[in-house]
Symmetry: C2
Subunit: 351 residues, 2 copies
């Protein structure tokens, strides 16, 4: 049996942390994986030099994961097709807006036995429909595609702080062990399950719930609030959020299993996202500053879009088109507070 060749498509903060793990495991399991791991890097200039040249010389992504050494067998390549040449294991870890383009470029260029795994965050909404990025990859490239998500703050993973993650693979029986060996380490413990759908739903919707949790924090901080909101309140929002995430999955997709919500991609990732992170932080500021989300995005995120509120809007349009907003009261209330001027206090009172 020939060795599996791995290509990592993407090289941001999370992509680089994952490249470190994959590079280590390609060395460790030399019976399974080709030693060389190619990483596609969208070329850019850093201090007048190509980022790929810096990565290949210093073994460090100085721009997106500074201070962390990458294994020497991870090779940065600026050309997508060259990076994926001969690879049969494709790790997609790039911002969602690039997925379509990358898949189009790769179409017809992969071997017959190739398979993919998506670490892409979010769901794809278009024309009031949702699709999963695993489906987009699978349908365009005709390769079975798994999904990986969990309570995985990238910098912590890069620093080898202990954590867990979940891989969902519908071809779990054939591919489960391979994905496990590519990603599992003593400090990054992988559980492989069959339900790749919920893995992705949790990864997208947790951000909406985190906006709700941030609203509670803002109300709790605010001395002017007549009603008050404490730890009990925030726990209630997180709990209701977990149930709405599951309900959303079960309502609109097949194969969603309750057990998945007990995995790292479910309850654990939801907890970390509701306690730390930008979604929680910006929505806390939304309550206390009285500014709009657009203003806060400019001030706090350098103009970048906040994932949680963007997803809340997309989910709302999706539900509205189906006359189902009232079936998801927490996510609907988050939308109404952020975009329709409803008072933040309704985050719990209205449910």
């Amino acid at each position: 049996m020939s060795l599996h060749k791995v290509a990592i498509i993407g090289s941001g903060n999370w992509g680089s942390a994952i490249a470190k793990i994959v590079g280590e495991n390609a060395q460790k399991h030399s019976d399974l994986f080709d030693r060389q791991v190619r990483m596609w890097v969208f070329e850019e200039q850093v201090d007048g030099r190509n980022l790929t040249d810096i990565i290949n010389e210093k073994h460090e992504n100085v721009k997106y994961l500074p201070g962390v050494k990458l294994p020497e067998n991870v090779i940065a390549i600026p050309d997508l097709i060259e990076a994926c040449q001969g690879a049969d294991l494709l790790v997609f870890v790039l911002p969602h807006q690039f997925v379509h383009r990358v898949c189009t470029d790769l179409k017809g260029k992969l071997g017959k036995n190739a398979r993919a795994i998506s670490l892409i965050k979010g769901l794809a909404f278009h024309d009031n429909n949702i699709s999963l990025f695993t489906d987009e990859i699978q349908n365009t490239l005709n390769v079975p595609t798994a999904a990986l998500s969990g309570a995985n703050i990238a910098d912590e993973v890069a620093q080898e702080m202990f954590g867990e993650t979940t891989i969902g693979s519908q071809t779990y029986e054939e591919d489960g062990e391979l994905w496990f060996k590519l990603f599992n380490t003593p400090y990054f413990q992988v559980t492989v399950i069959a339900d790749s759908v919920s893995v992705q739903i949790c990864g997208a919707l947790k951000n909406v719930i985190a906006v709700g949790a941030g609203l509670c924090d803002g109300l709790n901080d605010s001395p002017s609030q007549r009603c008050r909101y404490g730890n009990n309140t925030k726990a209630a929002v997180i709990r209701r959020g977990l149930l709405e995430m599951r309900k959303f999955g079960k309502s609109f997709f097949g194969g969603v299993r309750t057990e998945t919500f007990f995995q790292s991609c479910g309850v654990a990732d939801l907890i970390t996202t509701c306690l730390g992170g930008r979604n929680r932080k910006v929505s806390e500021a939304f309550v206390n500053s009285g500014k709009s989300i657009e203003e806060l995005e400019k001030e706090m995120l350098n103009g970048q879009k906040l994932q949680g509120t963007t997803t809340a809007k997309e989910v709302h349009e999706f539900l509205k088109a189906r006359n189902m907003t009232e079936d998801f009261p927490l996510m609907t209330t988050v939308y109404r507070i952020i975009y329709d001027g409803e008072p933040p206090e309704t985050i719990v009172r209205d449910i």
Copy 2:
């Protein structure tokens, strides 16, 4: 149909917060409940006066819930039998060490249609066996007994911060609505389910998991730790804890349902307990101070026993007697770190 008469057995911090709610609801649902709610108060002297006299005059439990007005229809009574005279709804909300004595004293003195609800924290361990306080009450007094538990920090409930709770009642179809009306308010939202067993298991075992979460916090704080432990780690411990709580329930009791762990008594209470509270705090100090739990109990808790470590020990003895410690690796590791000198780092590495 005659009105239901309520007796509250206990008047500590949580008992007083609950008396406020029950008193309000007895007024509100005057078609269902007798207006007068009697609260048994273990008599003690405060500034040279009887606590019951102070409560009945000031409508405030100045010792255990200072600053919060109790409804005037809540009457403090120092005699247990008198407090329960004619009552058909008994709310047990007292420290577990008093339950046996109270039940013995009440035996044979209750009406035929009486029923009870337990807000007692913990499980009863004796001779390497476990029993539920609902069973102890039910078996001694021959009354159907429900359980109430949730993400309910008592002071927050008393201050009417929004929260949720769970009532488990095996006689749910007959009694569910009555319990709902006695406890539900706009700021304290009740869900009634049939699984009273898990409600109590969650309330006891969450403290063991919170000790584990505190160990992570201690490791995360500590600059001397070679391995490091971040938010991903703590989320992993909380998640594994939730699964071990469920496994414990399913292994040793009947009627345990997965859905209960999505209720306030499950995931929500676990989250608040792992983020705040004394179990988390003392075990964090255990890592950083190098002191024993006994020393820390003296210093930090005025000599009171920490629930989480006490329960960890009781659970360990129970599991050991059944040769099942390895089936519950997280709770077993918590025990070994606290009592057997294993390094705190094993909290995640060993699982």
